[in-house]
């Protein structure tokens, strides 16, 4: 194949088709990133109404290695714009990079792996058209994100140059990771591996800039996230660091094209690794199968909880300084009698438990997923009862939730211990996390009851979690009535270490969880599978 003739026949039709098919996903991605920046800008203005507040916040963050590691270099923090760039910067940039790599992975390798690309290529469609169409869409998404981010900040009345620099950071970083994903998509024929490769590059970029930003900033130059943050939005903008960003994107694009020319449709540059010829002894029982199928998911969620918990634990020590002079933040962590640090740790545990509940629902819904994907049918055609089959996944969900809570408690405890709390806090914080076990199991039971009784409506489990999240994060600030907040099982758990332990609510949660589980099992036994 020659490079001179790139056949683009059908590109615009394909691009329109992608927009039609993925319109909801596209809008949700763009909307949530713009909303993140808008909400941050509004909250910064509310939290720090005067220059004195901003100066205090800047002073608090300046020497805070943990905050810098998770947000970015401390630049221009005594301005509203600088605070927005600090608070929404690193997380927003990670989200825009995720958006780009997931979209590219799905639209290129995902389509190819599913065999749909083959069908398209059998039509009068140019060889480069599907990839170019996907790239055009993702490029446009990034441009729109950049424009919306800049526009939002301008509407909030922030300086023009900073707003444009900040918006451009989003657009160009997204572009770089779209190109990273394009290269990864040539390497493996497995879409999940593509996500893994591109995700690893993103993770490395984040860690390198964290290390650099804590130090003298040199190491940050190894990271694309570091490059765009070096443009210093709202802190004396300089534009030239966008050049390596654009150059990297262009270079990756050329690499992707060279690699694409060396491979066949459907294959990757790296051949797939063979699996095992025979099954291990564990893989002969339903529980062994469920563990094997969900192992990766537990590890992934565990890593996420670990990182979040370390982030929370490592700033626990400075929370008193941070909050003392700020009424809004103090309200957020308000709790009669307990110290601010204790309230903060209790809130952290509740948030980590809510994050872990995401795993719980996903893991329990695996039962329904196995059913829909016709994986359950041949298993249930062996002498495995429905109860035993469902129980195997329920055990993984319930056991996995304990693992995640243990990771959360230990990680918060150890990181808080290292920054000043002392090792002695670890066992206590582990217990403060594990106290959420009954609430997690209630979520298992609830999800399973839906699977047993209304298999077509299981998505409601996610709505329940969203409700619990809103109650848990914003309930106090929104001034919601007590009875409404009490509906969330996470509110029933004693908020340790800021409150006293009491066993009764935990027993009630366990009984409800058990009742829901029994109900779900009765429903599953009675209904049709499939």
């Amino acid at each position: 194949m020659s490079h001179a003739t790139v056949d683009l026949t059908g590109t615009s039709v394909l691009a329109r088709f992608i927009v039609r098919r993925d319109r909801i996903r596209i809008v949700v991605w763009i909307g949530s990133i713009a909303a993140l920046v808008a909400v941050t800008a509004a909250s910064v203005k509310g939290l720090y109404p005067t220059q004195a507040d901003l100066d205090l916040a800047a002073a608090a963050s300046k020497g805070n290695a943990a905050a810098i590691a998770f947000s970015g270099p401390a630049q221009g923090l005594n301005t509203v714009g600088g605070q927005v760039a600090f608070q929404a910067g690193a997380s927003g940039l990670v989200v825009v990079a995720l958006m780009s790599l997931l979209m590219i992975g799905q639209l290129t390798r995902g389509e190819e792996e599913a065999g749909r690309l083959e069908l398209l290529r059998s039509l009068p469609v140019g060889s480069a058209a599907p990839t170019v169409a996907a790239s055009m869409i993702v490029l446009t998404m990034n441009a729109v994100v950049g424009a919306l981010v800049a526009g939002t900040l301008l509407v909030e009345g922030l300086p023009v140059a900073g707003s444009i620099a900040f918006g451009a950071s989003f657009a160009l970083l997204g572009l770089v990771f779209a190109c990273v994903a394009l290269v990864a998509a040539q390497i493996s024929e497995n879409t999940r591996v593509v996500y893994g490769i591109a995700g690893a590059v993103l993770g490395a970029s984040f860690v390198l800039r964290a290390v650099g930003d804590i130090g003298d900033g040199t190491v940050s130059w190894l990271s694309p996230i570091g490059w765009v943050q070096k443009t210093r939005p709202f802190a004396g903008e300089r534009w030239w660091p966008f050049l390596p960003t654009i150059a990297a994107a262009a270079g990756l694009l050329v690499v992707a094209e060279v690699l694409a020319a060396r491979r066949d449709l459907g294959s990757g540059l790296v051949p797939p690794q063979p699996g095992s010829r025979t099954a291990s002894p564990a893989l002969g029982r339903p529980l062994g199968l469920a563990v094997r199928l969900q192992r990766g998911s537990v590890i992934g969620w565990g890593a996420g909880v670990l990182l979040t918990a370390v982030a929370y634990g490592s700033i626990a020590n400075s929370i008193d300084d941070f909050v003392r002079n700020n009424k809004t933040l103090a309200d957020m962590f308000a709790s009669g009698g307990a110290s601010l640090t204790e309230s903060y740790l209790a809130t952290s545990m509740r948030i980590l438990a809510l994050v872990g509940a995401g795993f719980v629902i996903q893991s329990t819904l695996r039962i329904r997923g196995e059913e829909i994907q016709l994986h359950a049918e041949p298993v249930l055609a062996t002498p495995v009862s429905r109860q035993r089959w469902a129980m195997s996944h329920l055990l993984v969900a319930a056991g996995g939730s304990v693992v995640l809570l243990a990771i959360a408690g230990l990680a918060v405890g150890i990181s808080y211990g290292l920054v000043g709390g002392g090792v002695a806090v670890v066992p206590g914080l582990l217990g403060d996390a594990l106290v959420y076990i009954p609430a997690m199991w209630l979520m298992v039971g609830l999800t399973f009851a839906l699977i047993g009784l209304v298999p077509r409506g299981v998505v409601a489990a996610w709505a329940v979690l969203a409700f619990c999240f809103i109650i848990g994060l914003l309930g106090g600030m929104l001034g919601l009535p007590r009875w409404l907040m009490d509906l969330s099982p996470f509110e029933q758990v004693p908020q340790l270490p800021a409150a006293h332990f009491s066993v009764l609510p935990l027993l009630v949660l366990l009984v409800v969880a058990l009742g829901l589980g029994v109900t779900g099992m009765a429903g599953l036994r009675r209904r049709d599978i499939g």
Partner: protein
Amino acid sequence: MTPAIAVSGLVKTFGPTRALDGLDLIVDTGEVHGFLGPNGSGKTTTIRVLLGLIRADAGEVELLGRDPWRDAVDLHRRLAYVPGDVSLWPKLSGGEVIDLFGRLRGDLDQRRRDELIERFELDPTKKSRTYSKGNRQKVGLVAALASNAELLILDEPTSGLDPLMESVFQDCITEIKGEGRKVLLSSHILAEVEALCDRVTIIRAGRTQQSGTLAELRHLTRTSITAETNRPAGELADLGGVHGFEIDGARVQFDVDNDQLAAVVSRLAEFELRSLVSHPPTLEELFLRHYGDELARERALTRGDRNDQV
């Protein structure tokens, strides 16, 4: 002896759709039974009832003398099943899936497993994600055929297999038949059914149309006749039981109802018969005769396929 499968008046509805509408099916001990019907006629739904995955709305269903819904787990120790579309966990290898099913069933025969993997030329180390349709089907077949189950329930088991593998499959079923085990074979490959099955049941729109040995079914239909005569035999067209009559000079071609066969052939002889070729209907012709016209009419009337319901 109780039959392996005894179904009568089976009804199953999905919302407004009546997927099974009084279906009957008898599979006797020691026979390979062909289960035929157009797409969406209810074959898979019947099999799912037999496996206890879905519950019958009405009718009698017995599998090996017991209730497939209530006694599912016990019954499943005695049967092996191959779905029409073998859906595998992407990250497990074919070998792992075969072992898993063997162990879940509790009768993994290592020697037989390895022999079947060889015969079907399956690479057991590949991840399921990378298997083609035919290879996924082979995984399902090896997992089922490696068992010693007394009843095999096979739902279009060879879809996607190449002719070479198709013949390996037929050899395997012939061996199983020799061991006196029972097989319910739902299939669209009529040559496969003709080669393997003792009896067949043909269903349509959730009802049994016909059931019997191939010879019995043939008897109920027509024989094709091609003949050459010295005198033009045009007047045969008016005889009762003659269909699709065509004449081309000395040559005539027609189908005749089997109960009129003797009368028509003796009339034919009167026109100074020079040559005569007759052949019984192939299963394919049987099938088309049953469904050809009716299907066209029905498809025009009802939209939508039962298949996407499941």
